[in-house]
Symmetry: C2
Subunit: 231 residues, 2 copies
């Protein structure tokens, strides 16, 4: 059995098992779901400022939305997702912020593993910015939906792997769809190789204001894009 057909069966099964999906089953069975979606959950700091909190307080408010999005993807039967945690660029921010986004990333990662994610953490583990708690996930753990979580990730670090062999993100497949929260219309160094043919959907709401309808809208929009893969 090829991976593709295994995938089709798996997704078919999951759709039938998906009473909590925000889409009706009749819609889902007609939809072409992306196999792999990338998520850029931007806007935590702006959300905190808008809610009269210190900037660093925003990150903790991004955990529950992340778990909600993870479960939505599980229910839909998405095979693989990639999530921007934090970057090497981000670690130049004030210590109060770096501590908060690191602990938020650790909490999120540990919880999705508990909920059945096949987690792979992608990032430069040679730095003290890489959380020791995630060292065990540098190889993908067993589980269901594949989650590639970018932690202390850098696009230059990733590409530098090519100089001596392969991308540091070699185990991450090509994305078909990227969803970014917070209104920014850019990739900010998010997996430059895997994003080459991805359709990019921008949600203007800030990440802590995540609602499942955002992904529903992105998937409905994705249906209408032609898939040329550069051809």
């Amino acid at each position: 059995m090829t991976c593709a057909s295994a995938d089709a069966i798996q997704r078919h099964t999951r759709r039938d098992d998906a009473p909590h999906s925000s889409f009706h089953l009749s819609t889902l069975t007609r939809m072409v779901l992306p196999r792999h979606i990338g998520f850029i959950p931007d806007g935590n700091r702006r959300w905190a400022v808008g809610n009269e909190l210190p900037k660093e307080a925003g990150y903790a408010h991004g955990i529950e939305p992340g778990l909600s999005l993870f479960e939505q993807c599980q229910r839909l039967g998405i095979e693989e997702v990639s999530v921007y945690g934090f970057t090497q660029d981000n670690t130049r921010r004030p210590t109060a912020q770096t501590e908060h986004f690191r602990s938020a990333c650790v909490a999120f990662a540990q919880e999705i593993v508990r909920r059945g994610a096949a987690l792979l953490v992608v990032g430069d583990e040679r730095s003290s910015q890489f959380p020791a708690e995630l060292a065990g996930y540098r190889q993908r753990c067993a589980g269901g939906i594949k989650v590639n979580f970018l932690v202390n990730y850098g696009w230059e670090w990733d590409l530098d792997g090519l100089r001596t062999g392969q991308l540091h993100s070699e185990q991450v497949s090509r994305m078909e769809l990227i969803v970014r929260w917070g209104g920014g219309r850019r990739l900010s160094g998010f997996l430059p190789v895997q994003s080459v043919y991805a359709d990019i959907y921008v949600v203007d709401e800030l990440w802590p204001d995540f609602d499942p309808s955002h992904l529903d809208s992105a998937l409905a929009w994705f249906q209408k894009q032609d898939r040329t893969l550069g051809g």
Copy 2:
């Protein structure tokens, strides 16, 4: 003198010399212009079909818009532009199409050199798909505005350069803004390294329907984006 200050002086001078700019001078002097803009002129074939022409007839209708956009960038004092000509992926299309887009690219390249572009053609010249007429532009020619023209370009070919030394597009600088025509919200393999921090502006009109107001709108939008460069 640093490059940045030379650049500022050059742009200031050019703005004063720009009576034909679509912006009023009073607007321009307040604007932060991107130093380097990427252009993805998509939609030639859809335009041809919509105008009851054979698909391949669309490419010739993309030349005049390209020259118009080039002159607009010259007048604005943009320092560097990158233009998607055609890709190695594109060369898998029917011969009628490949012949037409190759000749359109040659005509465009030769004309912008005549009009003062410092042209650099970036693409895999080892293939018969690379137009012989452009072989002389594999090193940047002297001139004014830098134009990087992607001809028989492939993102994998580009990155493969890293395995033995440097990117094949090493001479192309980072882009701040990318403008894509034809409604597609994706990069389609366009300079993955130089696009990492670029803001992406999408024009729904098809490329042969180019109007200078499209770039004006993109530049006005660009003013409102915060420039974090991943930080």
